[in-house]
């Protein structure tokens, strides 16, 4: 234990001493400065460690001058104080170290003095147990801060300092006044003393006014909306190190005072006030940052928002009606928030110091040139926006689940705000990773420390809180996730990484075999692991363009999916869901033109995840069993989350670009398996939740319509795509629409159809995307009109694509038809006849793009530029072969897949009978019809061979002619380009359906985005930059607070 007074006293003394010393030797002064800070760091650390390890149990009470507390000034250091103190000096040390690396700003000595004063003031604010002393420390901090802010001596910094000073003075006036009146009312200045006396005092309006005045002063310092203009200006104008310390440390001290004020000064409206100001600040700030162009101010908005969330949590934390467990969770969440925000935001500000321009466009592409910068930046952004396993995620999760159900609108507020946060942070991410940027400064040690601390804290939080929340992790999955991260080490050789990944997945399959049983989870687990292993095989790194982090992220996606399907608990499912979403975000972002796509993907992932989280929050229990819920809200929220991943209209907007622009190696997984997680989710949502609500059938009917419309419109749009992967993307989305219909029918036949189609869609769409990856790799473009005639160069790929296309179109002898047949049988049995018609039409329209793929890519004239391409790389060819053989085998023997599916559903009440049976001649027989797959296959192949042999024997000499030997009105064609019809294949059809393909949904989403940003733009104008205005806001808000909360009407 170190006496806290020592920290303050030694720092103060050293500040004076440095003031003198720096006249003689700058070097020694600096040495002394760092010695002091290191001492402070260790001293505060020792105290904090003492509390953590349990060696110190009682709060440390320091009597100054030997007077006992109520009379003398005292310092009171409990666990929270020790923590904040430690935090302050850590940040201060990091900031100072950053300065040292970068070169100390001039005048060194004065700045050192001010810096010491600032940190000691913040520590004093934290430690003190006396109100007037608090005021003094606040003033010390403020004066030091004014000086430091101005010390950059740019026009902006001076201006910011002045604004800060004016508003700060008003704030300290409020605090001083209220302290003095408090003394007048209670006769004491000691916090504990006042707290005990205050209970005996009747709360007259005047008295409440005094307390409110104190609170108003604090709220100004805590930067609540709209009296935070000064703070934003400071963030924008001041030296980033100063800002980092202010935002990371000093504000946290004020927050502690806020908590203390809430605890000691029993204020009846504290809860309401913190809700209004915290929530309001949080919500508004997250949105007005959308169009901010200056990165530092933008980070400022984010800081303000985070503080708002903290204030909000404080309101709940101090709410006496809260149950103890919730209180515990909120306390933990506050700690995590503080930690998260301090380190992440300080890191970001210090990173911003390394970039020359603070404008958004100045950040363009800098992530691509600076790997370490990218690491720190991504870690910080992920942590702030709440990506697992970083502390921000756990903080948000804990907070949400601690909020009582009668305040569920607060959840909405938090989640909407978080969505806004995602939008602008990933806009920054997008800007910073797009194109080729320039090299940035290398002063990254301090932010790197922050980032590492964040990761550590995240893991610690995971360990500490996951089980408390009821989140259960399969230890194998955790081990495999650890392996996945470890694959990063092999990054010097992509091939090695690839092989290592295969080994890890193989090991995973080996370990997971017992879990792959005949139940829903086991079925999907098998799909995920085996499917991923196959697709992983096809990611064979043919060139250096695969990113170093590709395989770790890929494996994380795979194993989080495995964890997801194994989850027996909604919250576990959610954690893995988020892990999967964000890991796939990382992967999508690797595509060279995918930055915008990744941004949109992030937004929609967040929409889905947050709405799912809200749904889970509203569920009566967390386990995956039948849950009774009332009303339509919960299923709606849950299903929205899953529909986003399935890219069902109108939530499909992300899919086109995400599928189209993500790395070619990753797209098969995205389409083949990740979208199936949405299927899994919807299935369990329908099974456990929607099945139990009274409006379940109509809800499912609407889902069915959604699926049908998705299938129809996406298919229609796919017809007009000229980019191979975008076409496949739309097709994929449309196909998942069929699965959704099957799920929505919720009859045995329907679910059989859905699961069959799920597996089938994985096979053929995985195959198509793998083939696309190979083709794009060989040809160098994904623009179909520039291909053509590749059948001459890639026969195997053509054959497998052909089979996959036949499966996709659902033409009988290949397995794709089984899903179609089951689906139509189920639909007609159910009597959803309009959906049947739409679905039928959709699958007919699908022939159009099927032909387009085959024709534009493989048939027609081989172009001059492609005349030397080769067959796809060998591993891809193997995967193609495996997949297309399995398509053929399933086509002949659908029972191979139907039997396991039947067993999956056998355990579910009401689903025991699959709705069809097998007969020898009729094949699969349902109540309505029959279909003999084996006969069709034999018949087709047999008669085809017969016809072929007959033809080959009898027909005339067949001469294989050259590519341009075509009847061309007697002309000799000049080049293949003249003859190839690849561009605008369906322009005539477009004229017929132009009303249907207007991108209405995209326009609506864009409109929503534009409207919100425009509105935010207007709101943002209240920060006029004029100090009079700022002061007026302060006064106005204070008056409003006084008027509404004193109880005087």
């Amino acid at each position: 234990m170190v006496n806290p007074i020592l920290i303050i006293a030694i720092t103060l003394a050293s500040a004076f001493f440095i003031g003198i010393l720096q006249v003689y030797s700058k070097l020694w002064a600096r040495l002394f400065f760092f010695l002091t800070l290191v001492f402070d760091f260790f001293a505060a650390g020792a105290n904090f460690y003492g509390f953590l390890s349990g060696r110190i149990t009682e709060p440390i009470l320091v009597k100054i001058g030997g007077f006992p507390p109520p009379i003398g000034i005292n310092l009171l250091v409990g666990k929270p104080e020790a923590a904040i103190g430690f935090l302050i000096f850590t940040i201060a040390l990091l900031g100072a170290y950053h300065w040292e690396r970068k070169g100390f700003p001039e005048p060194q000595g004065k700045i050192m003095v001010l810096f010491l004063l600032l940190s000691l003031g913040a520590a004093g604010i934290t430690f003190t147990g006396d109100f007037f002393n608090l005021f003094v420390f606040i003033e010390i901090t403020s004066i030091a801060a004014y000086g430091l802010v101005a010390s950059a001596k740019t026009e902006k910094s001076v201006e910011a300092a002045f604004k800060y000073m004016v508003v700060g003075s008003i704030s300290s006036t409020f605090i001083l006044l209220s302290v003095v009146f408090l003394y007048k009312a209670t006769g004491s200045l000691n916090m504990m003393d006042i707290a005990s006396r205050i209970r005996n005092i009747s709360l007259t309006p005047i008295y409440i006014l005094i307390l409110l005045m104190f609170l108003a002063g604090l709220l100004i310092e805590l930067e609540v909306f709209p009296i935070n203009g000064w703070a934003l200006d400071v963030y924008q104008g001041a030296d980033p190190v100063v800002v980092a310390v202010l935002a990371g440390a000093v504000v946290k001290a004020f927050y502690l005072v806020f908590l203390k004020a809430g605890t000691y000064l029993t204020l009846p409206s504290f809860f309401t006030l913190s809700l209004i100001f915290g929530g309001g600040t949080y919500l508004v700030s997250q949105f007005i940052a959308w169009r901010q162009k200056d990165v530092k101010r933008f980070l400022g908005y984010s800081s303000v928002a985070q503080l708002g969330l903290l204030i909000l949590s404080a309101g709940f934390f101090l709410n006496p009606t809260l149950p103890a467990f919730s209180k515990h969770l909120i306390g933990a969440s506050i700690v995590l928030f503080i930690f998260n925000h301090s380190f992440a935001k300080s890191s970001l500000f210090l990173l911003a110091d390394n970039v020359k321009s603070s404008q958004l466009h100045g950040w363009r592409g800098i992530l691509n040139k600076n790997p370490l910068f990218k690491f720190i930046f991504s870690t910080s952004v992920f942590s702030i926006t709440g990506v697992p396993p970083f502390p921000g995620f756990w903080a948000k999760l804990l907070l949400i689940f601690a909020i009582p159900k009668n305040c569920s609108w607060v959840i909405g507020l938090i989640l909407v705000g978080a969505l806004g946060e995602i939008v602008y942070y990933y806009r920054l991410f997008r800007e910073a990773s797009e194109g080729e940027g320039e090299k940035v400064g290398t002063n990254l040690a301090a932010p790197l420390t922050g980032a590492i601390l964040l990761i550590g804290a995240g893991l610690v939080a995971w360990k500490m809180f996951a089980t408390q929340m009821g989140i259960m992790f399969n230890s194998t999955i955790l081990l495999l996730l650890a392996f996945s991260i470890a694959i990063y080490i092999l990054g010097f050789s992509r091939i090695l990484q690839w092989a290592g990944s295969l080994a890890v997945v193989g090991y995973g399959i080996y370990r997971m075999v017992p879990e792959m049983g005949a139940n829903l989870h086991g079925f999907f687990l098998a799909l995920v692991l085996v499917g991923s292993a196959l697709l992983l095989l096809a990611t064979y790194p043919t060139s250096k363009r695969t990113s170093w982090t590709f395989y770790p992220a890929y494996l994380v996606v795979v194993f989080s999916m495995a964890g997801l399907v194994l989850a027996r608990n909604w919250l576990t499912l959610f954690v893995f869901w988020e892990l999967m979403s964000w890991a796939s975000f990382v992967l999508i972002n690797m595509g060279s033109r995918a930055k915008k796509a990744a941004w949109i993907y992030a937004i929609f992932s967040a929409i889905g995840a947050y709405s799912m989280l809200a749904g889970i929050y509203l569920l009566p229990g967390l386990s995956l069993t039948h849950l009774k819920v009332a009303g339509i809200m919960v299923p709606l929220l849950l299903v929205t989350g899953f529909l986003v991943k399935m890219a069902t209209a109108p939530l499909h907007v992300w899919a086109r670009d995400a599928y189209g622009e993500s790395p070619d190696e990753f797209t098969p997984l995205l389409s083949g398996i990740i979208s199936k997680m949405g299927v899994f989710g919807s299935l369990i949502a329908i099974l456990y939740v929607i099945g139990n609500i009274s409006s379940g059938p109509s809800f499912r009917y609407i889902l069915g319509w959604l699926g049908a419309l998705t299938a129809f419109f996406m298919t229609l749009i796919a017809v007009f795509q000229d980019d191979l992967k975008r076409l496949l993307a739309y097709s994929s989305v449309g196909q998942v629409g069929y699965i959704l219909i099957g799920l929505a029918i919720a009859s045995p036949l329907g679910w059989n159809a859905a699961l069959y189609h799920t597996v089938n869609h994985f096979i053929f769409k995985g195959l198509l995307f793998v083939a696309a990856a190979g083709i794009i790799y060989r040809v160098g473009t994904s623009y179909m009109p520039r291909m053509g005639g590749l059948i001459r160069r890639m026969p195997l790929t053509f054959l497998s694509t052909l089979v996959a296309i036949i499966a996709l179109a659902g033409i009988p002898p290949i397995s794709g038809f089984a899903g179609k047949w089951l689906l139509y049988s189920a639909l007609i049995e159910k009597g959803w006849i309009f959906i049947t018609v739409v679905t039928f039409l959709a699958s007919t329209v699908a022939f159009l793009y099927c032909f387009k793929i085959l024709h534009s890519v493989f048939l027609g004239q081989l172009q001059e530029e492609n005349s030397n391409v080769k067959e796809v790389p060998f591993p891809l060819a193997i995967v193609e072969a495996i997949l297309f053989v399995s398509l053929g085998v399933l086509g002949a023997f659908p029972r191979l897949l139907l039997d396991p599916i039947n067993r999956v559903f056998a355990g579910i009440p009401g689903m025991e009978s699959p709705g069809f049976h097998y007969e020898k001649t009729l094949g699969v027989v349902s109540n309505l019809g029959h279909w003999n797959a084996l006969f069709l296959m034999v018949f087709f192949v047999g008669s085809f061979l017969l016809a072929l042999i007959f033809f080959a024997i009898t027909s005339a000499r067949v001469k294989k002619v050259g590519q341009l030997d075509v009847g061309y009105s007697g002309e000799v064609p000049k080049s293949p380009e003249d003859l190839h019809f690849g561009y605008g294949l369906y322009d005539h059809f477009r004229k017929a359906v132009k009303w249907f393909i207007y991108p209405m949904v995209t326009k609506i989403w864009e409109g929503i985005y534009e409207w919100i940003s425009a509105f935010a733009e207007i709101v943002r104008r209240i920060y006029t930059g004029n100090v009079n205005t700022y002061a007026a806001y302060v006064i106005l808000i204070s008056i409003i607070i006084f008027y509404f909360f004193t109880g005087v009407k």
Partner: protein, 191 residues
């Protein structure tokens, strides 16, 4: 342009003309003449009435084929310039055997009224194996039909073997063709 890459550079082999079905083959070939629609000169306008209601060539089993690949007969309908000849040769060679040439009018025979033209050829049979000549300037549809009737007789009796002659004497024809087509710019044989 790389000709070998894009065109089949191979001379056609000789075709035998026998078999158990020879009689039926000749019979059907005579009654199913598909004509490639290639109007080279003023005779093109006479083909239309021949094939439509008034004269109705379809009753002989004839019909228009849209592409040389499916056609049996090419009608040289009138004068033939060097430029057109080049295309006609390509079209003819792209037709599948057995195939027949019917020449209409005086111009293919001896140049007709274009006997002194600098670009209308005078003797078609130097360049293509003509099976039936229909004289006149221009012959009326009745005459054309009569010509086709004659062609049918020739085919039916197995005497319309211009396509065989062409392949057997391809070198001779080619020499004649290349004599007037200075810059060949085509594959050696148009498949």
């Amino acid at each position: 342009m790389d000709k070998d890459k894009y065109f089949l550079n191979e001379k056609p082999g000789k075709l035998t003309y026998s078999g158990v079905f020879k009689r039926i083959d000749d019979w059907t070939r005579a009654r199913s003449l598909w004509v490639v629609a290639y109007g080279t000169g003023c005779g093109a306008i006479e083909i239309r009435p021949t094939f439509t209601s008034r004269f109705d060539a379809e009753r002989l089993g004839m019909r228009m084929a849209g592409t040389p690949r499916q056609a049996d007969v090419i009608i040289i309908s009138g004068y033939l310039t060097v430029k057109t000849l080049k295309r006609v040769i390509r079209v003819y060679e792209q037709m599948q055997s057995p195939k027949y040439v019917v020449a209409l009018g005086a111009c293919p025979i001896n140049g007709g009224m274009y006997y002194d033209s600098y670009n209308a050829i005078n003797k078609l049979d130097l360049y293509l194996p003509v099976d039936v000549w229909v004289t006149g300037c221009m012959p009326r549809p009745e005459a054309i039909l009569a010509g086709f009737k004659r062609l049918q007789e020739l085919i039916d009796s197995g005497r319309a073997d211009g396509w065989k002659k062409y392949i057997e004497n391809l070198d001779w024809y080619r020499e004649n063709q290349k004599k007037i087509i200075k810059n060949w710019r085509m594959p050696n044989y148009n498949w």
